[in-house]
């Protein structure tokens, strides 16, 4: 889950988003805290220094008092001139201001009783007199305070955006994972009744899950319908056929003593059995295709099953004087043992059927690259490359084998069974002959 989250595109987007926002936030913070403070104080200091320079020049020319009077006419300037004993000499300020703070090196800040904020610098003349020049910075400092607040607010907002983007990405990832997991489980188990869990109703993903669930329900309905149709075929055609067979059996009893009649009835019974066999195989294939897992999987060794298949078919092979040397290495796997037996019984049956008398059949199994692999190869005519996919179709028969016995369902059943066991099947050229490779995932 966590791993999946870390690898997801949403997480990567969230990470990128967060990093960009962090960088932007840091830049904004720096501008707010440093640049503004610097800028507005510096401009105030420049004005104060200019004022002081003018007054110093006036002092040198003995015009200090007159110049102070001139300066104090400006509404935003405060001037205080004191002697060595800190006694008032001149200016519109009568005494040192109270609650003085140091704003910066050499710059003081204070608030007057009228709530105006001032920045001030002090110059000491050579004769010991002190000159204090203040400048009203109320407007600028209010602006600065507001900017500072805006900066803090934007940082908080950014933090919220970061947190939200994480939450959204988690939300999206958990939901897309849920959809993917449901789909995977449906594929693995063939259980079409599964649905995606929905626990909210406001987001697009829930809406999508809802639509997907409707889609799945429709799909299930259709598949179920197909299954129903094939079950109906089974029911509707197999039942009368069986009745026919049973009637023939009774007829055969009635014909006791008439060997010629009984033989003909036996042929009819055999034909009916053939038809019933085709229906049974057809139904079995569609069942395997629609219901992926047929039985609780059991653990067994493929080599044992193959040994039993060989043992079962050995008399048939012997009758055709075929040579075979099964090479069966231990191959522990998990699955439906009966179905696996069926797969190799069909394959071996084909191999025996198509290999000319006196030919060879190769049967082997074992573990290869972590998979359970089995091989059935014959020395018969083989299957042309272009037809290798088609022979798995129902009723598909190769040119030239149409006259031979068999329903044309053997390989279709084999493939359906292999897929139902989550296996793979491949037809290859054994030059000459057909080489069938079947592989399964090993027992965990």
């Amino acid at each position: 889950m966590l791993n999946g989250y870390l690898r997801s595109s949403s997480f990567k987007m969230a990470l990128l988003f967060t990093l960009l926002l962090c960088a932007a936030g840091a830049a904004l913070g720096y501008i707010n805290f440093r640049l503004n403070q610097q800028q507005f104080l510096e401009s105030a200091e420049r004005q104060i220094n200019a004022e002081i320079r003018v007054l110093r020049m006036a002092q040198r020319s003995g015009q200090l008092q007159a110049e102070i009077a001139l300066s104090t006419q400006k509404s935003d300037v405060l001037v205080l001139l004191t002697d060595k004993q800190n006694q008032y000499l001149a200016g519109n300020l009568t005494s040192d201001p109270e609650n003085v703070q140091v704003l910066r090196e050499g710059t003081l800040g204070f608030t007057r009783p009228d709530q105006h904020i001032y920045a001030a610098r002090i110059h000491t003349f050579d004769d010991g007199r002190r000159l204090l020049v203040g400048l009203d910075i109320t407007a600028a400092s209010k602006e600065y305070l507001m900017l500072q607040r805006l900066g803090i607010i934007s940082l908080i907002l950014m933090a919220i955006v970061i947190a939200t983007s994480f939450l959204i990405s988690t939300f999206v990832v958990s939901r897309t994972n849920r959809i993917a997991n449901t789909a995977r489980q449906m594929m693995e188990t063939g259980d079409l009744s599964r649905r995606i869990e929905i626990d909210s109703g406001w987001d697009d993903l829930s809406n999508m899950s809802h639509v997907l669930n409707l889609f799945l329900a429709r799909l299930e309905e259709l598949v179920y319908g197909v299954r129903q149709v094939s079950d109906n075929i089974a029911h509707d055609l197999r039942t009368p056929l069986t009745r026919l067979r049973n009637d023939l059996e009774r007829l055969r009893l009635d014909a006791t003593g008439r060997d010629d009649l009984q033989n003909r009835i036996d042929e009819m019974i055999a034909d009916t059995d053939g038809l019933l066999g085709v229906f049974a195989a057809l139904l079995r294939i569609s069942r395997l295709e629609t219901i992926a897992q047929t039985a609780l999987p059991s653990a067994f060794d493929l080599a044992d099953v193959l040994r039993d298949v060989c043992e079962l078919y050995e008399p048939l092979a012997e009758a055709k004087e075929l040579r075979w040397q099964p090479q069966l290495a231990p191959a522990p796997m998990k699955g439906d043992r009966d179905l696996v037996f069926q797969i190799f019984a069909n394959l071996l049956d084909n191999a025996i059927k198509y290999t000319p008398a006196g030919g060879d059949i190769r049967i082997a199994c074992g573990v290869q690259d972590g998979r359970i692999v089995a091989q059935v190869a014959d020395t018969g005519p083989g299957i042309p490359a272009a037809e290798r996919e088609r022979v798995f179709e129902r009723f598909y028969r190769l040119e030239g084998s149409r006259t031979s016995s068999g329903s044309g369902l053997g390989l279709a059943l084999v493939r359906a069974a292999v897929y139902a066991q989550q296996g793979q099947i491949e037809l290859m050229d054994a030059a000459p002959g057909l080489n069938v490779i079947v592989s399964f995932t090993p027992a965990a």
């Binding site: 197999r238 059996e249 055969r252 043992e311 008399p315 053997g410």
Partner: protein
């Protein structure tokens, strides 16, 4: 040991809601000398199964109210051990397994040939037809199978059998006098439930026959056409 009726016939109970199937089974079984009771629904079936004594019961899985498996479980829960053959339209292995787990003794998929049903009922109704000719021995006519030494002989003459031939002969002898179908052989001798594409079982039987019957005047292992095989004295 069997609960034969007053007339000495074996009694079979059929619980099946399809009257055609039910009628056809019951007609066939009566012709074979069985006494047959049939129930068309689960309630009547369960009543008959628990109040009367039968040699075997044939129960359709899909019979209504209650269904076949419920009847079966109820029978087994009350200690009723009557052999039960389950009929079902469901062919998958899962269904077979649930049917047998519920306490069924055998399972037959619909539609079925009557010969197959009859063979299975004969075996169920006369289960354990103890035919051992002595301690750990099975015999038919002058053919003997020693279960301890796993050796077969006919008229005192030793017969060499391969493992599967031995198993085949043992199964046939255990059901001496009863028809054994190809499907039953696949399920019991080969222990696989599958659909052979060819007459591979017949080939095994003819091999066995050539070993036990060749050169003797009487044929013990006979083919029952349209049904299967039988071994008789």
């Amino acid at each position: 040991m069997l609960n034969k009726g007053r007339d000495g016939k074996m009694r079979i109970l059929i619980i099946e809601d399809d009257p055609r199937v039910s009628g056809f089974i019951s007609k066939g079984l009566k012709e074979q000398g069985y006494t047959v009771d049939s129930a068309q629904n689960g309630r009547d079936g369960l009543f008959l199964a628990t109040t009367e004594k039968y040699d075997a019961a044939i129960i359709d899985r899909m019979v209504p109210e209650p269904d076949g498996l419920t009847i079966l479980r109820a029978m087994r829960a009350s200690g009723n051990q009557t052999p039960v053959l389950i009929l079902s339209a469901l062919a998958s292995v899962d269904d077979r397994v649930t049917g047998l787990r519920a306490g069924g003794d055998d399972y037959l998929v619909k539609p079925f040939a009557f010969a197959e049903l009859l063979a299975r009922i004969e075996i169920l109704a006369r289960r354990k037809p103890v035919v051992e000719a002595g301690p750990a021995r099975l015999a038919a006519g002058d053919l003997e199978l020693n279960l301890l030494t796993r050796k077969a002989s006919r008229a005192g003459q030793q017969i060499e059998l391969q493992a599967r031939e031995y198993a085949l002969l043992e199964y046939l002898l255990r059901h001496k006098g009863q028809v054994v179908t190809r499907t039953m052989l696949l399920e019991n001798v080969w222990d696989y439930n599958f659909d052979p594409q060819t007459n591979v079982i017949d080939v095994h039987i003819s091999r066995l026959r050539s070993k036990i019957d060749k050169g003797f005047s009487t044929t013990l292992l006979k083919t029952v056409r349209g049904a299967g095989y039988i071994i008789e004295d």
